[in-house]
Structures are given as C-alpha cells and as structure tokens.
Subunit: 481 residues, 2 copies
Amino acid sequence: MSPEEFRLAGHELIDWIADYRQRIPDLPVRAQVQPGEVRRALPDEPPQSIDSFATVLADLERTIVPGVTQVQHPMHFGWFPSNASLASVLGDIACSGMGTLGISWESCPALTELEEVVCDWLRQLTGLSDQWHGTIHDTASTACVVALILARERASQFSKNGPGLQGLPAPLVVYSTAQAHSSIAKAVQVAGLGNDNLRMIAEDPDTRAMLPAALQEAITQDLHNGRTPAAIVCSVGATGTTAMDPVQAIADIANEHGIWLHVDAAMAGSAMLLPECRHLWAGVEQADSIAWNPHKWMGTILDTALFYVKDVEHLERVMSTNPAYLRSTADGEVTQYRDWGIPLGRRFRALKLWFHLRLDGLEAIQTRLRRDLDNARWLQNQVEQTEGWQVVAPVSLQTVCVRHTPRTKNGSPLTGDELDRYTLGWVEAINASGAAFLSPSVLDERWMVRVSIGVEGTTREHVEQLWALMRHASSTQSISL
Amino acid sequence: MSPEEFRLAGHELIDWIADYRQRIPDLPVRAQVQPGEVRRALPDEPPQSIDSFATVLADLERTIVPGVTQVQHPMHFGWFPSNASLASVLGDIACSGMGTLGISWESCPALTELEEVVCDWLRQLTGLSDQWHGTIHDTASTACVVALILARERASQFSKNGPGLQGLPAPLVVYSTAQAHSSIAKAVQVAGLGNDNLRMIAEDPDTRAMLPAALQEAITQDLHNGRTPAAIVCSVGATGTTAMDPVQAIADIANEHGIWLHVDAAMAGSAMLLPECRHLWAGVEQADSIAWNPHKWMGTILDTALFYVKDVEHLERVMSTNPAYLRSTADGEVTQYRDWGIPLGRRFRALKLWFHLRLDGLEAIQTRLRRDLDNARWLQNQVEQTEGWQVVAPVSLQTVCVRHTPRTKNGSPLTGDELDRYTLGWVEAINASGAAFLSPSVLDERWMVRVSIGVEGTTREHVEQLWALMRHASSTQSISL
C-alpha cells in the first residue's frame, strides 16, 4: 500500500473511529455473541485475493464490532477501568505510522530517550524521589516476572550465570497474599521458584491487607527451616477488593532481612497522581521495584505498564545481553532498554504517554480521578443505607465490593450456595442485558460483586443508573431454595 | 479529548504520516543525533498546561523525527528487515482506536476469535499441518521463554506446582548453538535454568548449522552425568548469518529422547510463505513449538510474533491462571489467550495481520520476498566476483555476510585486529553518512558486515547503490598499520 492509498484509507478510518467512539454509549456493554460466533463469520481459509479498504471496514463493522465488549462504555464497571483516552490513541497512531524499531538505542534514539523522559515525568507526578528509574512494559504481569527474577538473582548471587536455581543449597521463597493479582503466582512459576515456595501471608479480615506480624513470622519460620526469603510482593490496590497492604511496615521487614520488595500498584498507581492519595503507599521509597499501569484508570491506552527500579546496575546485570550484531559506538553512554526486560524489540510506547500528558493534561486527569472517587463514595453510601445490601470490603479507591442478601420465605437471610447462585444470577442478568457490566468475584469463599468505577465517560448519572439496575435485577432475581 | 477533537487531530496526523512515509527516502537512514540530544531537547519537568495538537505535531517533527533511525528507508540494510506495511498500520490504528481489552474471551470475544483465525491462516500459508495452534506474542524472545517453560515443566513433571526447579534431582539442560539469537541464552536465564545448563552445540564450519552428531554426543554425555535433557532450540535463519539448523535430523534426536524441540524461525518464517523455501525447515512437523515474526520480513508491523504449539492442553496446564474475577459462563468453551503466555492483558493484535493479508494480499507479499531473494543473489555474485571481497557465510535467504580484505603496503592481506578496525571503519563511514545502514557482526571472532536486504521499498537499484557505497567506503578507508 502506497502512502497515498494509506492517506485515503486513513482518513476513512479516522472518521470511522470518531463515529465509533461517539456511538459506544448506544452499544451493548458486553458483547452479545456466543462462543464461536465471530470465528464462524470469518473464512476458514486465508484470502486468495485482495479487498478494497471499504470492504475491510464494512467487515470490521459487521463481524468484529458485535464481538467487542465495550470497556470504554460509560456503563462498564467490570474488572478495572481500561481507559483508552483519545489523546493517547493519537500517540499510538503516531507510533504505528512511523514504523520505528526499538532493539537498541541506535535503532531509534528518540524511542529510548523519550521513554526515559516520560517515565521520569510520571515519577515526578506520582511523588517518587529521583532514585527511581523507569521503563514501559506491556503489562504489570510481565513487570512482576522481571521483579521476581531480579529478586531471585540478588538472593542467589547470580545463579543465572551458573547452575540456575538447580544448584541452590537453600530454596528461595516469595511472600504475598491471596488478595494479590493472579500474575504474582504465575510469575513465581515462570521464574522457576515453584508454588511450594510462595507463601500466602494472612490478611487482616477487615481490610484484606497483609498482616506484617504474620509476614515476620513466616520469614522467621523459613529462615529456621533453612530457606532463603527472596522477595515480597506487596499489593497497593489488590485486584479483588483494592486492598492496600501496609507498605511501610512491610518495607521495614524487607529491609531488615535484605529481601527484595516489589510494590504492585497496577491499579492504584493512577491514584498517586493525586497528592491526597499518596499516603496509601507510604513507605514505597524503601521498596526495590514498583509497577503500575497508566493503561488502567489514568487512561493511557494499553499496553502501558510502568516499571521502576532503584538499582539499574543490578537490573542490567541480570537482564542484559550484548550480541555482536547489536553493538554500536554509543554503547556505555546510553540506555539499552532491551536490558530492562524480556523482549528484545519494542514499539515506541512512550509516544502514548507523551501525547496523553500534553493533550489531555494532568489537571483534567486529576479532575476525572477525583470525580470517580466521589462517585464510589456516593455508591458506597447508597449501598450502606439500603436494607439487604452490604459493602463487603473497605472502599479504598474507586471500587465498591457489594453483596445483596435477600431474605428467604421464612425470614432468614439467604446463605451458602443459594446466596452464590442468587448473586451470580442477578449480576448475570445485568451483564446479559447489555445495559451495564459488572464483574463478580470471590471473597471469603462466597461470590460478591465488584463495581469498579472509572471509565472516562462515566458520570454520576451513570452510577445512579447502575444502582437502579442493581436494585431492579436483584429484586426480580428468583431465590432458588 | 472528545471524538470530534480526535477527528480533527486524527486527519492531521494521517496526513502527517502519509507525508512522512513519502519523504523517508530523503531522510538519513541512521539518526544523526548524539547520545542525550533528544532528551536534552525535552523538558525535564512534566507539562503544567496542555498544548494544541499542532504544537505536539510540530514537536514530533522537530524533536522526535531527527532521533529516528529509518528502518523503513530503502537504504536500510541493518539487523533484519522490520517492515511496517501501511496496510498493517491501518489494522493497528483500528486496534488503538477501538480501545479494546483482551484479558479473557468475555472481555473481547472478537479479539480472541480473530486471533485464532489469522493464526490459522498463517499456519496454512506457511504449509504447516492442522495439528498446530497459534497465538501472537510481542516478540520471538518472549515466545522462546514460554517454549522453555513448557519444556521445563514437561521434563520436570510440573515442578512449578511443587518446589520448582529448586527441588529437582537432576538438572534440566537446553541445547542450541552460538549462532542462535541472544534471546535463547536470555530465556534459559529467565526460566531459572542457568548458563551452566545451556550447551552450545558445535556448528558446521561452513554452514554454521548445528551438527546433529555433536548434539547427540552432548545429550549422551549429559544423560551419562545424570542430567535431564529438556529442550533443544533449533534456529531456522539464525541472526548472525541466517544459518539453517537441520530441523529433520535434530527433530529425530529430540523425539528419540523425548526432548522438547523449539524451532526459532523468527526471521525465516516469512520465507515459508514461499513454497520453494519450505525445504529449509523440513522436519518442522516433528517439533513441539515454533516461533516466527511477521513483523520482520513479511511486514506486519511490530509487535507481531507468532507462536505455535501442538499440545494446547500442556500449554494451558503450564501457563494458566483462573482467578475468580475473570471467570465467566463461557469458560471451557472458548480459548483464553491469557493462558498462552505471560501477560494477562493483550491488545487486538490480530487486526494488523487481518488488514495486511486482506489489503496487501499474499501474492504481493510473495512477489516482494522473491524480489529480495533475487537481490541477495545478485549482491552475492557481485561480491564473489570482486577482488578483495568475500562472502563469508552461505546466503540462505536475503542476508549477505561480507568482508573486504585489502592488501597492506607489503602486499599481504590485512589480518587480525587491523582487519577488524578496517571493517568497522568502512561500515561506520557508511552508517555515519546517513546514506545507507549496515550492521557489522562477529564471525569466527572477527568483524564482518551483514547486508540484510528486505525493506519494503528496497529495489535492485538501491542494492546497486549500496554496493557502490561499500566499494567506495572501503577504498577510501585508511588502513592503520
């Protein structure tokens, strides 16, 4: 395709995207397709001839759009917000259009240096000191794998350069909680450490936060048993209930024992753009690594996961490769981001953050975040004041975890598996309708419903609509007994 | 930013991209900036107010463009081609514009099912049987990490669910060659296996291909020493010289011993779109996993790395997580790509391949690949027929590895460190001029120069120009003695 053909098609596509974004509020939130429906609408065999751009765009509309769950929909309250602000989309389009390649500084100096600059801007905007140095990963899951590898190599005196984990006298152990994101357990497995060496530390039953005393006890126990405590993963805004582990107390323990402390603030990092929220990760300066995702609540389009470390020398020593075909005269004077993560090649992701911060600006982003915090408090109040409804976890940010407990015919509250079926029933009724979307999750072995507020377009009015939908769906849900 | 503001800015950006792509041939190939130059042109502190789109676009032009090494330039012959065809760019723009989220089938059914379909199309187009199932990773580096984890878990009976590598009686061993991509050694380290357990198998001194007899011997030796051969990484188009390991012979050995065989065809996978090239990976059907990058020679924009496995059950058993907050009624009926790799969240990458195949089409891609193969053969002939020039490795695809060996004053050929300085001197003269770009690399402990042909816009004329530049640069390079 020539640049002139691209120009024509590109203009059509921009109009299509602008129209699409405008009509998202009219689309069902959850895709209304059945498993296999999109696949069956597509040819089994690859195309034998080429199509016009108009044909492809028509297929995008007809085949793909109905299969999209609209996470940009103002009535989307599922998982965590996954905002894709149009300002950041422009930066992503610039990235695609330029077709750059990041495999070394030399392959695109601007890609490396803008990434350094925007990571440093975000460091400043979240109140971190200048001892932190950042990069952009695809997701916080990948960042966690890197963090655990950094911990593993520090605790094992660079076992990677020798026998690996296979030659260690004392097994390395990782500490986290059951509230932590699934990527933590996965990272433990990826890094070769094994489930047996992941300790799920007890949580405070009210806040769901890690109990420092229980952490200290587990470490003592492991040391006593000849194991080597290697890493603690501390969640700031854990996925289930946005639980906040006490960073300061955990950091004190980590520092005392020389254990690597990784702070997973994938969701809550965005909140640190608000000075009034920074107390939530007090102590973070004593950690060894931090990950958080502008591609969640802040709204820089996926994939934009920030990863900060203090000890860059250690990072590069662990993750670097220096093949002959990538050497250049600039080596030693520049950052080689290939030595900061797993993939060699990288896209020009920094443009998304650059465009987002310059076109939308910090103030607008902060205003939106505060709006969402207010809306969550409003919903929390509504739920707390309504008979039969409970807020089941502290509302530390913008996610409200709720349960409705109706009374059975004999007047006692519904419990057990019946309550689970009832909960899943009313939330599925809402999700299936397409009018709104919520994700159920499990707490204390029972289903509850997470209302995660924070889509760019979600106003108080939408939260009010949702609350009405929730009351209606639950009141019409039959109670199976 | 509202959709209407996006529409206006988007049209400007599309025009900018189209113009940019048109003028790439007039830009220097290698960025002419010094280390730190781009960074110093950017503010140290984050923006305090917002800018107009025109201002940001002007900064993109003024600050970023001079810092871009133009890998889409027709005179770019460095590393491997990193084509970003404009047809695939449109697919990437659609991905960004829609702002979808892939964390489960339910979060975007179309994202999952289109990925299944295009991976299957590419399977067919590269002549693979229907026992292969594919997904898209960011890079072949990441795919290799996953492959080694799959191998590790098969060989260790799912040690991840127990003590990890830390409890294995016999160390697991990986086999590859020194020609293999740097990501192989890195993946061995990431997976916790350790350098001591990576065997660099001897190569044929002419073809640089792995010697099956040497592989067999190393395996026998390791078994004798109580170690467990776990994985073989076989390169089809290794990075240094595009060496082709003999897949069939290696697969026979792998199968005999039940060793996981990963075929790294990151570069050469594109060649398999040409039926006449498929003999180069004969035996591939017996492998356990394959990775190749449409984002290289084929030209689907980065990041598009395909990863195929046969045993999906094993893959999912190793890589899956099933947190409560991601469960849905579709579980069990659909593919959950989060269980096929490391990151949880994924972009709608399949759109790039879909647009590329439908708008450019297979035939045009095949024609271009054949053009590049012809151009490489032409250059090889020129080099071979010219006094003082040598082709130093077999030209198996589109990369020609060359060296020029001038004579010293006393008539003997330049050797040793002087030859290295001379080689690096003339190639740096070309690269510094901005007229063309080549990457030097090391072969037999001496520098040589890789001419990797295959940028979308590179015609015979450009290769002729390059050859003239190479002769001129070498002839004017002083010989230090």
